[in-house]
């Protein structure tokens, strides 16, 4: 019995997409979203779902970008506002504001987290050679969160390393703390 290997679907020829078929041989698929008119991309295989913004429960003593926790069908997931995380000006949440639910690898634990972005833009298949290394300076984002830059349709897409981003600073699992507990 052959079973479709969902996990490598994005890396292989991608028979389930009609987009950029010819360039797709070595490419990885990315979901891009908008933050303050800039386009960012994340590995599409990490995206669990995209949902509209809903009010959430604030968690005390958390950095401002951590907007709170949300009930995702019984699981409690933390949600961060990427704008505020990257130091971009905060805006009112509107009808296009979405929460992208992503899977984050944190050590040997997998966490489900949400990121609030202005809007979801596109999905791309990007061959490795198109991806340029991240510049060491100049962006609002700490360069260690950036896996690379891609020029696509005259627009620069910043590819984000979700695991780095979502395990940094206040979001990190406090190993010390959990060991005591």
């Amino acid at each position: 019995m052959t079973r479709p290997d969902w996990h490598s679907a994005g890396k292989s020829t991608g028979d389930n997409t009609d987009y950029d078929l010819d360039q797709n041989t070595e490419g990885q698929q990315y979901l891009s979203f908008l933050l303050d008119n800039e386009e960012y991309g994340i590995d599409i295989l990490r995206v669990q779902e995209v949902r509209g913004w809903t009010p959430m429960t604030r968690v005390p003593d958390m950095p401002v970008y951590l907007k709170g926790v949300l009930n995702l069908r019984g699981a409690i997931i933390p949600v961060i506002d990427l704008r505020e995380r990257f130091g971009l000006p905060a805006v009112e949440y509107g009808p296009t504001t979405v929460v992208i639910v992503i899977n984050v690898n944190s050590g040997d634990q997998q966490r489900i987290m949400g990121i609030i972005v202005d809007a979801v833009a596109e999905t791309y298949s990007l061959p490795k050679e198109q991806i340029q290394p991240a510049p060491q300076l100049g962006t609002v984002i700490n360069s260690e969160f950036i896996t690379g830059l891609v020029a696509q349709n005259e627009q620069m897409i910043v590819l984000i390393d979700i695991d780095e981003l979502m395990n940094a600073d206040e979001l990190a699992i406090d190993l010390h703390e959990s060991m005591i507990a």
Binding site: T57, V59, P60, D61, R73, G74, I76, R111, E177, A181
Partner: protein
């Protein structure tokens, strides 16, 4: 057959550890002459050895083999049970455990120690073998009856009880005689991955084998299940080997087969003992027979009319007078009937009860050596030419089957079943087998399914009696009598829904079982196979990964939330005047009830009796008291009280610590006790019980109690309290939980390092429980641990802080009060103390801690929740109290991380998330904030300091 065994290793290990626990427990409770316990221990050791061999853990296998041999000696009373041997065996249990652990974590065993222990085991075995003599032989013969339970599990069948003594006293003895082996595997053998063919091949390696397969059990092709084994074999082995060698071949399946190994010499001997013509009848009625309205005496009388019958009643099943249930039949009979009637005449007498009894009718006539020596009445009778085959039965059959309680017991895979329990399912099947789909069946079928849940023997109730009463008239005509047993054949006869199916199954089956003589036999046989299946389901449990259960628990949690949401909506709708919501509300109510029930049931799946934890304590107490040279009697009660598995796993270590503490600090030495006029032996009690939704464990010793003065002085010396502080005795007891506190003058390897009680309390509180001490100097000490029944659900008080909803665990709340101006006293300008029941408690502003817009200075009328954790009270300032409700605790760590001051979150009826406050953490944080300024002043200003600065 290359099967990857590695996947079963973890199961083996798990079972072995359980087996070791059983051994340990048994050893600690072992009195000499307690056959049941020795057998249990032996069985456990045997399974470990067997498993170890299968998985190639040779070291474990070899070592356990010696343990087993020693146990075998004890079991057969070749050696007395002495404390030295018990200790040796206990050490061996540890060694096996270590060896098993080494198989998991790589080689880290102390080989020297193992070898040494091995040597001692051998010494113990050999040292006693010499003294084996005729005396113990005789003793053993007497004890045969007691050994039966063991035998029924692993049919170490003796040719006849008469020879058992010799035979077993020399198990290793070589014999050149021929062997007759009757081998009837359980129908499920193939499904368990065994292949009888290999066994037969292995036998051939021992010597010449003459094999004959019995095919009479094979059903018609249409009913044939290729996965079920219907064959049995008669093997004549001509080999120079010992019985043990033959047994070894069958070692892996001996629980799953009926195995008779008979030395031909014995067989011949017993054959010569044959008596004249007649019938031997073994009649074992089910316990419920009288309740079903049958009277065995009438049947016996009827038998006597057939010829001269010598009837002997066997009373070995008779319980002690205290346990005797007058409505239960505990007798069985052996009847020697001298009559030239035929079998059907005898069967006729028992016709009404044949489903409710175990009936063997064996002709005491000629015998051929063809037949398997211990052929059970059932397989034989099942063949179409019953009487002939019966005629060929060897008398040794009779003897050996007499020695056994009843043949069906030997089919049983499960060991400890009482014969009555074997019968039980049969009795249960009967009502549902009643084939008329009348109204009567419905209740009885229901009854049955509910009765099945209980494993107790007394469940047959009057409700079951009715259908059987119905049966009687209808059974008067032959066809329906035939029909009735065939209803039993239906594999689903056990199941409640099958009550509807039955009629059709019945009619089909009837045609295949028409000849009258066959029917009872077939019936008996089939009944037994269904008995077998049933017993396996009844006695067995299912190993399920905890994760799966947790998913189930979560799912049900979701359902509870959804249900709460629907109820809310329902209530909202009900407020609309024009809408008729009666039916909706009724439906919602029912949904709520069902959801609650479901939730409770699912929770119960996670519940285990606390005995899993308590079981290791007898050993612990035994070891520690030996080390301390104290005499202790451990009394345990309520070990069947159930608690959530997670709680149970985490409470073990704290309890061990408390017990060690009680033994070391609490109980005095025998000399001290005698000097104080107390009995030399101290008692340590462990009581577990449920109380108002909590699980309580009391650890009570009758030792010296807590010396409050000593504790106080130590605390002052260690700077935990100020010398001038006056403390209540509760507060002094609380000092015991301070980190680093120890009353012991010297540090022993048992206790006194000052680590411990604080950890104990922290662990218990981490589980959402608490611990309390009460002590009477000279009389003893009581540690009372109360724990939540489950970690998944909690009673919570919903509160409002500013515009956010939080939950306080109800167990932490002492009281919620409205502050009175007069009770408030400010300290350092801003912080407040509240006078609460003659005690000043600090107030904690959650608004400040949680960065919420703060209410102004606490004033009169402010709502304050007085909470307590770790003996520390505090007042939480809250804005509003909402309702109390059961909340399903969700972890924040799963997708996020631990957050100070919160234990988790829950989902409210509207789907939103509410955070659950961690009172211990909050008190710590809230007081950190204020303590630096207030602590010193408070000590001076207040006569009585409300808290110790131990944070």
């Amino acid at each position: 057959m290359s099967i990857d065994l590695s996947q079963f290793i973890s199961t083996f290990l798990e079972e072995s550890y359980e087996g070791l626990e059983i051994m340990e427990n048994g050893l600690l409770n072992l009195d000499s002459g307690d056959h049941e316990t020795i057998n249990t221990i032996f069985r456990a050791a045997h399974s470990i050895k067997g498993g170890a061999g299968t998985f190639g853990f040779d070291q474990v296998g070899e070592f356990t083999h010696n343990v087993e041999t020693l146990l075998d000696n004890l079991r057969k009373e070749r050696q007395p049970v002495t404390p030295a041997i018990i200790n040796l065996l206990l050490e061996s249990v540890d060694a096996i455990r270590a060896l098993l652990a080494a198989t998991q974590n790589g080689p880290a065993t102390d080989t020297d120690q193992i070898n040494q222990l091995d040597l001692r085991l051998l010494q113990a075995i050999n040292g006693e073998l010499e003294s084996t003599g005729p005396a113990s032989d005789a003793e053993h013969t007497q004890s045969t009856a007691v050994d039966e339970t063991y035998d029924s599990a692993m049919p170490v069948t003796r040719p006849s009880s008469k020879h058992a003594g010799e035979e077993q006293a020399s198990p290793g003895q070589l014999s050149s005689a021929n062997w007759q082996i009757y081998f009837k595997p359980a129908p499920t053998l193939l499904q368990q991955g065994h292949e009888p063919w290999f066994l037969l091949e292995a036998l051939q390696e021992l010597g010449d084998v003459e094999t004959e397969a019995f095919t009479q059990d094979i059903p018609p092709l249409t009913e044939l299940d290729p996965y079920t084994l219907h064959l049995s074999w008669q093997l004549n082995l001509n080999a120079d080997c010992s019985e043990a060698e033959i047994r070894e071949i069958f070692e892996w399946i001996e629980d799953d087969c009926e195995l008779t190994i008979l030395n031909n010499a014995d067989a011949q001997q017993s054959r010569t003992e044959q008596t004249g013509a007649g019938w031997h009848i073994s009649f074992t009625p089910s316990k419920q027979m009288m309740q079903l309205g049958h009277e065995p005496v009438f049947m016996l009388e009827a038998l006597q009319q057939l010829g001269s019958a010598s009837i002997s009643a066997l009373t070995d099943e008779l319980p002690s007078l205290a346990e005797l249930n007058p409505h239960e039949l505990c007798l069985r009979w052996q009847i020697e009937l001298q009559s030239d009637c035929d079998e059907s005449q005898i069967r006729e007498i028992f016709e009404w009860v044949e489903d409710d009894c175990d009936l063997q009718i064996i002709p005491t006539g000629t015998a051929t050596h063809r037949q398997p020596p211990e052929t059970e009445a059932q397989p034989v009778a099942a063949s179409s030419d019953g009487p002939e085959i019966d005629n060929s039965l060897d008398t040794s059959v009779k003897n050996s089957s007499l020695a056994k309680n009843e043949p069906s017991a030997s089919i049983e895979p499960s060991a400890n079943k009482e014969p009555s329990a074997n019968k039980e399912p049969t009795a249960n099947i009967e009502p549902s087998a009643n084939k008329e789909p009348t109204a009567n069946i419905e209740p009885s079928a229901n009854k049955e399914s509910s009765a099945n849940k209980e494993s107790s023997a007394n469940k047959e109730s009057s409700a079951n009696k009715e259908p059987s009463a119905n049966k009687e008239p209808s059974a008067n005509n032959e066809p329906s009598a035939n029909k009735e047993p065939s209803a039993n054949i239906g594999p689903s006869a056990n199941k409640e829904p099958s009550a509807n199916k039955e009629p059709s199954t019945t009619t089909e089956a009837v045609s295949s079982v028409s000849p009258k003589t066959n029917t009872p036999n077939q019936n008996t046989e089939k009944k037994n196979s269904s008995t077998l299946n049933r017993v396996t389901t009844e006695a067995s449990s299912v190993r399920v990964e905890l994760e799966k259960i947790d998913i189930l628990v979560n799912r049900v949690g979701e359902l509870v939330i959804t249900q709460a949401m629907l109820s809310q909506i329902g209530q909202d709708i009900a407020e609309i005047p024009s809408v008729d919501t009666e039916r909706l509300m009724a439906g919602l109510e029912q949904l709520e009830r069902n959801t609650r029930d479901l939730q409770e049931d699912v929770m119960r799946v996670r519940m285990f009796p606390i005995s899993f934890v308590f079981n290791r304590f007898p050993r612990l107490v035994h070891d520690i008291s030996t080390k301390l040279e104290k005499k202790v009697e451990l009394r345990i009660s309520g070990e069947q009280t159930e608690i959530d598995k997670t709680v149970m796993e985490k409470i073990g270590d704290p309890l061990v610590h408390l017990i060690r503490n009680a033994l070391d600090h609490g109980l005095e030495t025998p000399q001290q006790r005698l000097a104080m006029g107390k009995p030399e032996t101290g008692t340590l009690q462990l009581n577990a019980y449920h109380q108002s939704g909590f699980f309580i464990i009391d650890i009570i010793d009758d030792g010296r109690g807590i010396d409050e003065q000593k504790v106080r002085q130590k605390a002052i010396k260690q700077g935990l309290i100020a010398p001038e502080q006056s403390l209540s005795s509760g507060e002094i007891h609380d000092l015991l939980f301070s980190p680093g506190f120890s009353t012991s003058d010297q540090v022993s390897d048992l206790s006194g390092r000052g680590v411990g009680m604080d950890v104990v309390r922290r662990n218990i509180e981490a589980l959402g429980g608490n611990i309390q001490i009460s002590s009477e100097p000279g009389q003893g000490t009581l540690f009372s641990v109360s724990l939540p029944l489950t970690l998944a659900i909690m009673d919570g008080q919903l509160i409002r802080l500013h515009d956010e909803t939080y939950i306080i665990p109800l167990i932490s709340i002492i009281e919620t009060i409205l502050a009175k101006e007069s009770d408030l006293s400010p300290i350092a300008g801003q912080h407040n103390l509240l006078l609460f029941r003659d005690e000043y408690v600090p107030l904690i502003s959650l608004h400040k801690l949680f960065n919420l817009p703060e209410t102004d200075q606490v004033s009169s009328g402010q709502l304050i929740a007085i909470v307590e954790s770790a003996g520390q009270k505090a007042g939480l300032i809250v804005d509003e109290l909402f309702g109390q409700q059961q909340v399903v605790i969700k972890s924040l760590e799963q997708n996020f991380k631990r957050i100070d001051g919160l234990t988790g979150a829950t989902i409210l009826g509207d789907g939103s998330v509410a955070l659950i406050l961690d009172i211990a953490g909050l008190i710590k944080r809230g007081l950190d904030y204020s303590l630096t300024q207030a602590a010193h002043q408070r000590t001076i200003v207040l006569n009585k300091p409300p808290l110790e600065e131990q944070v």
